[in-house]
Homo-oligomer: 468 residues x 2
């Protein structure tokens, strides 16, 4: 086959995918209906069911090998597809592309804020509403369906391997060990990771950096049992008050993090990076429009794009303690709790994160209370060269579909696998995806923009025809 025929073939594959849009959407809905909430032990069977469902599809679609790799908690789905034999690439030059995804989803609470049931995928205004629709079952299925279509049309220009985990939303506790234990299964020239997204439907995006994550439970303990505030108010330090005082002290008034040592290893933003960030069309007004706030917050020396992509943060993800029901109860609780997390940037180490918080608590916690800090998850930050041959090939595919080159930026989220694959297998990642910034991932009424998803499938078919 001559190069022209190959291109002809990819165009044909894209047309084939277009003709099967309804069928593809039905398949996505089937997967989204499975409530694979990885953090909740009550949904463990659903998580396993999601893994089996995907493995079955990969087998039907022509994978040469499909495996469910058990971990301490939720399985990894692995599969391999052979490159199509009728492409013109010399045998030795066919690259191997590892496609990463996760089939688990976030919890649904607060459930009362959903307009429709989170596991009954609902089409409305060109979007598919469901928990996990955007993060990231639509992205996983875009890859699965692109590989299926390319295999059927004979345009798969790479050996494709899938690595689909079920623990991303709980910090991927078993992923690195699984990659290490089965290194030969996962080895590839590049990882295609569609777990980041686009700023809006007109702006295709490739990310070249991710923030790391560290997640903690903090408990503050005071009296041995709940007390009556009339009898003990004014003589016993209220653990809820002490917790609030500790949390309040974790930031300075200018929005920076006050934990000792927190910024010691943060890689400064150089001029080139600053210039690239300035070119990203994401301004204060975009933050306001997407979040509904009237005023921004944070380190004023950095732009929103820099703060989200290249600066570390500390967040209070949950606080609870005392009486939280209807009406009043005059209690001084025995305990107060918080969930705290950090987004880390190069060259912070997630292994140091516990020490930042513990060091602060050791210095600032009053002797009237006791505290206990537990780390639930930790993953490294990631940064790579956005000008590699694989990145250029992917950028070309996006440009063909959207008619403009992609935005290159760093992402504020955390996808620990990118760092793990670099460290363990020396593999760079193409970080991309067809989720949009207003998809409300992790929130009630999450949705996936359906037309954008169809375009994503086309871009993936094009990339897999000429993967770089």
């Amino acid at each position: 086959m001559r190069p022209d025929d190959a291109i002809q073939g990819v165009d044909g594959a894209c047309r084939a995918a277009e003709e099967r849009r309804a069928e593809h959407l039905s398949l996505l809905k089937e997967l989204v209906e499975i409530p694979s909430v990885s953090t909740d032990p009550e949904h463990a069977a659903d998580v396993a069911r999601a893994a089996s469902w995907i493995a079955a599809r990969l087998g039907e679609y022509g994978a040469t090998d499909v495996r469910l790799i058990a971990t301490a908690r939720h399985p990894v789905v692995w599969a391999e597809f052979a490159a199509s034999t009728n492409t013109d690439a010399p045998a030795g030059d066919v690259p191997t592309v590892l496609i990463y995804g996760h089939y688990d989803v976030q919890p649904v609470d607060p459930i009362n804020l959903w307009n429709t049931d989170p596991f009954t995928p609902t089409e409305r205004d060109g979007r598919l509403y469901a928990r996990g629709a955007s993060d990231m079952k639509a992205q996983v299925m875009a890859c699965v369906l692109a590989v299926k279509t390319a295999t059927e049309c004979g345009t798969l220009g790479a050996t494709v391997r899938f690595l689909l985990e079920g623990e991303e939303e709980i910090g991927s506790p078993n992923l690195a060990a699984t990659i290490e234990a089965h290194a030969d299964l996962f080895r590839a020239d590049v990882c295609l990771n569609p777990d980041t997204g686009m700023i809006d439907a007109s702006l295709p995006s490739i990310r070249y950096g991710l923030r790391g994550l560290a997640y903690f439970d903090l408990t503050v303990r005071g009296p041995s049992h709940d007390l009556h505030s009339g009898s003990f108010g004014g003589v016993v330090h209220n653990p809820l008050q002490a917790l609030c005082e500790l949390i309040a002290g974790m930031h300075t008034s200018d929005g920076s993090v006050a934990l000792p040592g927190f910024y010691d290893h943060v890689r400064p933003i150089d001029d080139a990076e600053r210039e690239r960030a300035a070119a990203v069309p994401f301004a204060e007004t975009d933050v306001k429009a997407l979040s509904g706030v009237s005023e921004l917050w944070g380190e004023t020396d950095y732009s929103p794009v820099e703060r989200i992509g290249a600066r570390p943060t500390l967040e209070v993800n949950g606080v609870w303690g005392g009486y939280t029901g209807e009406g009043s109860k005059t209690v001084i609780p025995a305990e107060a709790h918080a969930k705290l997390s950090m987004r880390l940037v190069p060259d912070q180490r997630h292994e140091d994160a516990y020490g930042y918080l513990a060091g602060y608590l050791e210095t600032h916690a009053p002797s009237t209370i006791e505290w206990e800090l537990t780390q639930l998850a930790g993953g490294p930050a990631y940064i790579c060269d956005p000008d590699s041959r694989f990145h250029r090939a992917f950028a070309a595919a996006l440009e063909t579909v959207w008619g403009r080159p992609p935005i290159l930026s760093r992402n504020g989220g955390s996808v620990p696998v990118a760092g793990d694959l670099e460290r363990l297998l020396g593999m760079p990642s193409i970080l991309t995806g067809f989720a949009l910034a207003d998809d409300r991932i992790h929130s009630p009424n999450e949705s996936q923009h359906i037309e954008n998803w169809y375009r994503g499938i086309e871009a993936l078919i094009r990339y897999l025809g000429a993967p770089g």
Copy 2:
């Protein structure tokens, strides 16, 4: 009957009560089994059932009149007993004693910390474990059974009226209006109010002061919906963090309340008061033993007795927001909530309490969030002369039973009715009771010391034989 016969009669009544201890305890258990949680709409029928149960008993025991007075929420039980005709007191000198109590109870959560079911009264180590056993169904039943016994034995030296409300644990929202609307039913020379307690079982106590209460819900709102902390951490002010910052600023580092104006009307502690407080056998070690803390907290210029009885406080009774389940969720919540309450002292006005908090929030809340403050309850502080003839008579009855004069002190709790009865009907209150400081009222595993309760019934019979 000569005075000696009257005393003989009271001794006989006390012996009669002693012989019926088992029967009396059974009656207390019957009342305690009714889960009359006034704050919870799901328990509204139980609250009504508790009222009816008591009204039925009062009728059986010889009340000349029993009424259930409806309010906007839970009814007031009213009853009247005639003074015994065979006492020696001249007709015009028979005083009227109003007995106040509440038959509602606190919620039970956290339910998992109870050793036995909160509404299955359980005897263990000389105590009766149940929600509301000590606060204050045992106190109500001690009065009911003392009046029953005195009526049967012909030793009731006062016209006795009962005022038993079902809304004390929600701040008595309808009580003042009910007293005003039915002033003639409630008029009396003195109110006997057993809703305060004793420091320990060897120290009978009369309180001559109470703290007022104001209770609030505070909500802080930020983004229009929950956000992903990876996408918006560092650019949006987290409402949970903002709430913690606001709460932390409500106290200074020396333990005093930082709300503007909060101390403006606080009556200073004079030398006489300070001397009386110093005589109360309740030291730092007692606070530690009762609460389980290793170190006290609060205004260091005041002793624990002064801080609890004569100084105002601000407490954080509950905080909640964000993800509070198992595992991790990287969310910036749209809202954060707190329950806050104040204990007020003379001459602070509970009507000013909202202004103290709102004034602070207006000054200190950042423009990055919005706040909403709702007052759920408010009641005045109270102080009276502990040397009135009624107080002296009650002290004598306690001394007869315990063999020592009672401790006179101010109480840290809030019983709004004392202030209401003084304001509306010019009536002083004898604040007393047979609850102990380690009864864990408002907490899991609340209990009533049973032997102390029997003694309380005897003291009440003695007092009602010679009420002053």
